[in-house]
Structures are given as C-alpha cells and as structure tokens.
C-alpha cells in the first residue's frame, strides 16, 4: 500500500514535470504552428546550466534561477536565428530543421561539458524525506517539485486566462490571422512565447536534474513523451496538456512499477523480465494511438485548422 501511494505520487510528479515541457510545446505548436523536435534540447540545456551555475555559486536556488534566465535567453536567440524563418512552412521542414538543431545542441554540449554526465547535488534541506501520512514517508524533493510545478501551472493559467498577453496567446492558438489583424507586434509575441516555452522546458530539466544524471540525449526521450501529451491533449490546448500529462505520468510510472508483476502471471520469469520494460514503454504509444483513432484531433483541440 505504501509502495502504491509512493508510486502514485511519483506518477503525479512525473506527470506535472511533463506538463511543463508539453505546455511550451503546445503553445508553440498552437500559435506558431511549429513542430519543434528540439524542445528537448532546451530541457537538456536547462539541466546543464543548473548543474554548472549551482557549482559556481554554491547555491542550488541561485543556480536554478540563473539557469532559468539563461535558458530563456537561449530560447529567444534560437527563435530569432532559426525558428522565425520556419513559420508558415511545411511541417516536414520543421521536423528536419529542428532535427538538425538537436544534432547541433547535443554536439555543442559534448564539446563544452564533455561526454561524461554531470550531477546536481541537492542541498540538505531538500533531501530529507517528509512524513505525508502517519508512517508514510516521501521524498521531500519530489514533493517540492509537485508543489512548484502546481504553482507554475497556476501562474500559466493566470497568464493565459487573465492577462492581455494571455488573451493574444489564446487568440493566436485558435486563429492566427486574427492576431495579426489586431495590429500586435507578432514577431515580438512569437519570440516571447518561444522564450517562455524554452524557459518552461529548461525549468523541467533543472528540476529533474538532481533525480537523474545530467547527460547528453536526456531530452530526446522525454520530449517524445511531451509530444505524445501534446497530441493526446489536442494541439494548442493547455488544459488538454495538463490532463494528458498527468494521465501519461501515471501510466508510465505505474506501468513500469506494476506491469512486470502482471506480466509474470502470464509469461515465464525470464520472458517477463525482457518483455516488461519494453512493453511498459509501449503503453503510452498505445494510448496515443487509441486516442487518435477515436478522436483524430486529440482530446481538447483548441483551434479549427
């Protein structure tokens, strides 16, 4: 039972983290109609920056803040240098060009930080387990991630639903021409939205850094999950991204934790041992395929295409 509660919390934490990635992706997707495979590179860069700045400053929090700002800047530079030229083009161009960016970022990181991974140690005050229920302890850091991501989600909600920028973002996600007609500085809006998405991705990366090793390619697998979430939730829908992210987080975490036992009931021990990790990785793609077969535009599609 304790294990189950812990895994559920892990699922929630992972789901919320995925939401940070998917939110940026779905905004960029919905507003600029841009498929950005390199979103995961920003996640990776956020983690590398955090590890580096935390080592320099000796403070976890200060390092995180600096990393966040740095990723935001990198995102805006990438937008101005490359992405801006891709708007309005075929998706295939986006896939190719951002695929090229992945290669570039991966190799740049290898060149700057070397092929070995980095680690980002937690400060003592975050690494204590916390008693959440009588007799049930849970990682304090993971709990902190849950709280912080919920705060960020709340901030995003207020930003998108209550502010002028948010109104433009929403309008842009459902009808691109209209925003242009309003006489808004579209170029600046796009740069800001892309930067915001990059900062969210970097934030996810730096928060995940103490749990996993910071390494090259860390962004690729997780950005695929973020894409899956974006598509399941419906392109351009932040609400859809949140629902789908939590769903995917749960399925992925619980699948990995409990699927092997289930499989052992039907298969031999060795067969189950090989099959379980692979098949539990597959669950999410199965979910996406089912959603798209039933609802070809995702669960909460924001705009008419």
């Amino acid at each position: 039972m304790t294990l189950f509660i812990e895994q559920c919390l892990n699922g929630l934490q992972f789901g919320l983290l995925l939401f940070l990635l998917a939110a940026g992706l779905t905004l960029v997707f919905g507003i600029m109609d841009l498929v950005n495979l390199a979103h995961g590179s920003l996640y990776m860069i956020g983690a590398y920056f955090a590890a580096t700045f935390a080592a320099w400053t000796g403070s976890f929090v200060l390092g995180a803040v600096l990393a966040l700002v740095a990723t935001l800047l990198v995102g805006m530079v990438v937008e101005v240098v490359a992405m801006r030229r891709l708007y309005g083009r075929d998706h295939i161009d986006h896939v190719l060009a951002t695929f090229g960016l992945i290669l570039f970022f991966d190799e740049s990181v290898r060149l700057i930080w070397g092929p070995a991974g980095l680690s980002l140690p937690l400060p003592p005050w975050l690494s204590q387990p916390v008693q959440i229920l009588p007799g049930v302890f849970y990682s304090g850091y993971r709990l902190a991630i849950i709280v912080v991501t919920l705060l960020v989600a709340g901030f995003l909600y207020v930003l998108v639903m209550r502010t002028r920028i948010g109104m433009l973002i929403r309008a842009g996600a459902s009808n691109r021409e209209m925003v242009g007609a309003l006489g808004v500085n579209i170029k600046l809006l796009y740069t800001l939205v892309f930067g915001l998405g990059a900062a969210l991705a970097g934030f996810a990366g730096l928060m995940q850094a103490p749990i996993l090793t910071v390494q090259i390619g860390m962004g690729e697998n997780i950005v695929i999950l973020a894409f899956v979430i974006t598509v399941i939730g419906g392109v351009g829908s932040i609400r859809g991204a949140l629902v789908a992210a939590i769903f995917v987080g749960f399925i992925d975490t619980l699948g990995r934790a409990f699927f092997p036992d289930l499989l052992r009931m039907i298969l031999s021990k060795e067969a189950a041992a090989t099959a379980a990790p692979a098949l539990s990785s597959m669950l999410i793609y199965l979910l996406m395929a089912i959603v798209l077969v039933v609802k070809p535009e995702g669960l909460f599609s924001a705009g008419q295409k």
Binding site: L86, D93, G100, V235, T274, A275, A278
Partner: protein, 333 residues
C-alpha cells in the same frame, strides 16, 4: 520522352554509371569497405524511394517509416533463427508482413491529418520498436544474429558481396521503375491530387482515403524489402534498425535529394551517407594545418556541422539536390 543533355540528366546518368561500375573499382583497388558502404547506401536508397512515394508524391508525412525496415528485417531474422533459410520463404514473408502492418497502421493513421498523422505513424513505429525489444526469444534489445544469408537456387548466392550488391542495385532500379509507372498512372494522378488538395479531390468525386491507403501499403511493402536486404547485409537485426532517428534519416534523404522526384531519394541517400563518412575526415584534413591537434579533436564532433547544414538545406535549398540540378538545367536551356 527524349532525353536531353541537361546537367540534371547528366548527373543521373553519372550516378547510375558510378553505381553500376562501383564493384569494378572496388575489385581492382581492393577497397572492400567502399563496397560495403555502397551496398548499404543502395539498400537505404530503396527505403528512401519507398518513403518518397508516399511523402513526396502522396504528401503523407510518415515519421515511422523505419518500422517497415524492422519488420522486413525481423521477418528474415526470425525465420533464419527458426531454421528456415530459404529466401523463397523469407522474402515473401518479409513483404507480406510489412504489407499487413502497413495496411493496419495506414487504415488507422489516415483518419488523422497534419501533425496528428506525423505523430500517430511515429507512435506505431515506437510500438513496433518496443515489441521487438521485448521478445526475449529473438534477442530482445541485443538483437538477433543471422548466421546464414537467405538461400536461393544456384547461381544466386547472397554471401558473394559483389553479387549481393548487384541484386540490391537491381531491386533499387526496379523500385524506381515501379514508382515511375505508378505515379504517372491514374492511381498516381489521384495520389498527387490528394497531396495537392485533398478536400477538392473528395469534392470532385474521389474517395481519397482508399487510394492513399493503397499508396501507404505499397510504400510500406517496398520498405519491408529494403529491411530484408539490410538484415542480410548486416547479418544481424536489432530494434535499433527501426529507432525513430532512423525514420528521421530516411526523411532527410528524401528532402535532401528532392521530394517527389524519381531519382531524388537516391541522390539524397548517397549524399547523406557519404557525407557522414567523409565529414569527420574532412574536418581533420582541412582543420589540422590551421588548428593542429584541436581540429583532430573537433572531427569527432562532426554533427555540430551536420546539424546547421541540415537547417541551411531546409531554409535555402528547398528542392534538394534535384532542385539544384533542375535550376542548372533551366539556366542552360
């Protein structure tokens, strides 16, 4: 059609002549590595030709085309593992399995459009990847060694490298011929119409879904053939043959060469794979006189050049290699 001596036609002729004469060169010079490299190029060019049929002519942006490489490869690998070495069983099985898989995936995926289509084809390919990684009997993640290449009747012998190369080349040319007939037939007109404007096609009376599905299946089957060849070439098959980056490589070949052109994918495959081989050496060669040791180190990071190069091709050379050749041909005319 009368062939004119445009730079484009000359380039196609030179490319084909080079591919045909290559074993002569490698035989004389003893450069066996080059024969291996080009066998691989020809096989992947076949896969790119198949992707081009649906992507370039049909406008269906599949991001999971490598799945059929895997299915064709595993059909050969599994049958070989089970002691059935006859190519007359293995190859039809590879074709049938990829056709069936393409039929199911296509039937479901073609209900979606745009980004959703990209992602659902991608999802199915990932599923295929994980299924293959999960079957312990056939090596799981580690893959499956094939101890004996597909057996046909004498004098056909796939273990003979030159012969195998020519078989691959013949199949590639046959595939290009097939695509040429297809795209110019009534069927091909429908496929191209659907790429251009699907709503309009349906409005004037074409049930485009079924035509696109057939195109999807033909492309998948051809790619399955390429997978069967690749498994034979490597004497090995593993899930990595259908990892998503491989699907990305195939797209790069098609776009680099020129989408929706007959020989574009071949140009693209040659360019990409030769470039991948040469770039590290090139960086070392050009860089060492200027930067010394540093350049030698930098050559390991050749992808740092490859990435932006890809970006530049997308931004400034939309038509790919074929587009450039065509431009040259027009300027001459």
């Amino acid at each position: 059609m009368t062939a004119q001596l445009t730079p484009r036609n000359i380039a196609i002729f030179v490319l084909l002549a080079a591919l045909v004469l290559l074993p002569l060169y490698t035989g004389l010079s003893g450069n066996r590595f080059m024969l291996t490299l080009f066998t691989r190029i020809v096989i992947l060019a076949l896969a790119a030709v198949s992707l081009n049929l649906m992507l370039g002519y049909g406008g269906m942006m599949s991001f999971g085309h490598a799945a059929y490489l895997g299915i064709g490869g595993y059909a050969v690998g599994i049958l070989a593992h089970e002691g059935i070495a006859s190519g007359f069983v293995q190859w039809p099985a590879a074709l049938a399995a990829s056709a069936l898989f393409a039929l199911v995936i296509g039937a479901l995926s073609l209900r979606t459009r745009g980004v959703y289509f990209i992602m659902i084809t991608f999802a199915f390919a990932q599923m295929a990847y994980y299924i293959c990684a999960g079957i312990a009997r056939y090596g799981g993640d580690d893959g499956l060694t094939i101890y004996k290449r597909s057996e046909f009747v004498a004098p056909v012998n796939l273990s003979n490298k030159v012969q195998f190369y020519y078989i691959c080349l013949a199949l590639l040319l046959a595939a290009i011929y097939l695509v040429w007939r297809l795209v110019n037939s009534r069927f091909g007109m429908v496929i191209q119409g659907a790429r251009s404007n699907d709503v309009r096609m349906r409005a004037i009376g074409f049930p485009t879904y079924r035509y696109k599905l057939v195109c999807f299946v033909v492309a998948g089957t051809l790619c399955g053939l390429s997978g069967a060849l690749l498994a034979n070439h490597n004497d090995f098959v593993s899930p990595s043959i259908m990892y998503w980056t491989r699907s990305g490589d195939l797209i790069i070949m098609v776009v680099l060469g020129g989408m929706g052109t007959l020989f574009g994918p071949v140009f693209g495959a040659v360019a990409l794979l030769v470039f991948e081989e040469l770039l590290p050496t090139l960086i070392k060669l050009l860089g060492t006189p200027m930067f010394g040791e540093q350049a030698a180190r930098a050559s390991e990071y050749w992808q740092i050049v490859m990435g932006p190069l890809l970006l530049l091709v997308v931004l400034f050379a939309r038509g790919g290699i074929d587009g450039l050749l065509r431009k040259l041909s027009k300027e001459r005319a």
